[in-house]
């Protein structure tokens, strides 16, 4: 492992080249790699094998907790804490609880989705080494980047440099840590 190096980054001119490169890098045995694009690219999930996110399960749990909390709050206030007779209806009038329960489910799931996404992404992150590459600013415009990280067991600065060059990128640069 080379000291002071975060990884090596290859720059591509279009999506197709990037997806092919990501696929080839995985086939070559690299596991710690990431792609940077100006817009979401669905094929990359599969090319980088990024299916296994825990976010859907977190959102489901958040939704269930939200729903139970909403229902529980209404039950507690109307039946236990402050029972009021409204037009002779039973205190536990569950049909009236449904809209609030539904909304609380959405609230719980929505908040978990946003906060969980940020948490799992490690955001907000004031410093990230990829920005040390001057041309990386183009990742938010019209360039596509593939970065093989130095923590990858197969990473070797010369060999990986050679590998990335063979993918015919526009440029390969070293990313300082």
């Amino acid at each position: 492992m080379s000291q002071g190096v975060y990884g090596l980054m290859a720059e591509f001119g279009d999506v197709g080249e990037l997806v092919t490169a990501a696929r080839k890098a995985r086939e070559a045995g690299y596991v710690h790699l990431d792609a940077y694009t100006p817009f979401p690219v669905e094929e990359l999930d599969e090319a980088l094998d990024l299916h296994h996110t825990r976010l859907p399960m977190l959102v489901l749990i958040g939704g269930i907790i939200g729903g139970l909390a909403g229902f529980g709050l209404q039950y507690w206030t109307t039946v236990i804490d402050y029972p009021i007779n409204v037009g002779g209806r039973p205190l536990f009038s569950w049909p009236a609880f449904i809209p609030v329960t539904f909304e609380c489910t959405i609230l719980g799931a929505g908040l978990t989705a946003v906060l969980g996404m940020l948490g799992l992404n490690g955001l907000p992150q004031p410093y990230h080494p990829v920005f040390n590459v001057p041309r990386f600013a183009l990742a938010s415009r019209d360039r596509f980047f593939l970065c093989i990280e130095a923590r990858d067991p197969k990473f070797d600065i010369d060999e990986t440099w050679g590998f990335l060059s063979r993918l015919q990128p526009r440029q390969v640069s070293q990313v300082d840590a």
């Binding site: 859907p56 489901l60 037009g87 049909p95 009236a96 449904i98 809209p99």
Partner: protein, 395 residues
Amino acid sequence: MSVLADSLQLAPGNPLRRFAPVALIVGAIALAACGFIATTAPRPVAQSYLAAFLFWSGIPIGSLAVLMLQHITGGAWGAIIRRILESATSTLPLIVVLFLPILFASGLLYEWARPEVVAHDPLLQHKSIYLNLPFFTVRAVVYFAAWMTLSYFLCRWSREQDGGKLRVQRRLENTSRGGLVAFGLTMSFASIDWAMSLEPHWFSTIYGILFIGGQVLSSLAFAILAAAALSTQAEVAEVMTPDRFQDLGKLLLAFVMLWAYFSFSQFLIIWAANLPEETPWYLRRLAGGWQWTILVIIILHFALPFVLLLSRGLKRNRRSLMAVAAVVLAMRTVDLSWLVIPAFDRDGGSFVASDPLAMIGVGGVWFFFFVRQLSRHPVLPLNDEALPELDEAGA
């Protein structure tokens, strides 16, 4: 005809085509049996027939709505089921024929069509300006004329696009815009006429949209089943990818939720107001065995499809999505029976033989004509901008 259009015809070995003659024969026998029972006990048969008509007519009518919706929104999800929707709406002339028995049996079905009942009911006399047989008939003619006109032109222009006429896309969009407004109005009134007026003292302002929501759900579930059957053909399967089935699965989930939302909204408002002129409708449907029916509806028409359709893997798998669509479609018949049959003061447990017979009879005959329509043109639209794979005119 071009090679591409040839390869996209409904194949002779397609499950839909193999099943169609069986459906026709079984359907005809079931309808004949209904007719036979009707000679001794016409009233229950008329009731069963109305439920069956409302379910099966919902697929071609709902398909018209989905067809216009997909023309406006665009996208590959709509293009892959467009021919299925078009074939379904093209069966509307058959639906007109199937409507005639209801017209003839109106005295058996609708209180307001019985002069001896109206004579003792001031409210029905008051409503007779609207609820009378001649005006009922005229309205039905107007509804069918509107839907068939829309269906005729939308199908015709779509086929012109196959032939390489590319400027029709704009015309299809514009017609669909106005068409959806006309559809919403006509179908709301049709649901009031055909179903809500079974209990003429009762009214609900959400009824029309609840009914349309159910029809759209039926036609979407049916389109998923038909699309899955079509994708057994290799050329079609190239376009009907797991991504597309996922799109359709998402829409099915959305419409399952929309239907549940409409249904619950009606219930909540009537339950909360607790007014004597509104509650009897629900009291009839929550007693005498019907409370079990609604429990089954809540579980199998909402909860189960809702939970299952959340899964990404399930939506992308053709077989598992088919299974969910089949459950939803089957539950649509139960929901419509729950909506219609209690109006006749029949108990939930009192199934009569004509209930399943009419459902199978009308369905079998309808399905045969649906498949006949589907086999007349390529099963996927050519030259649609949403399906660049099938572009042969060089748009």
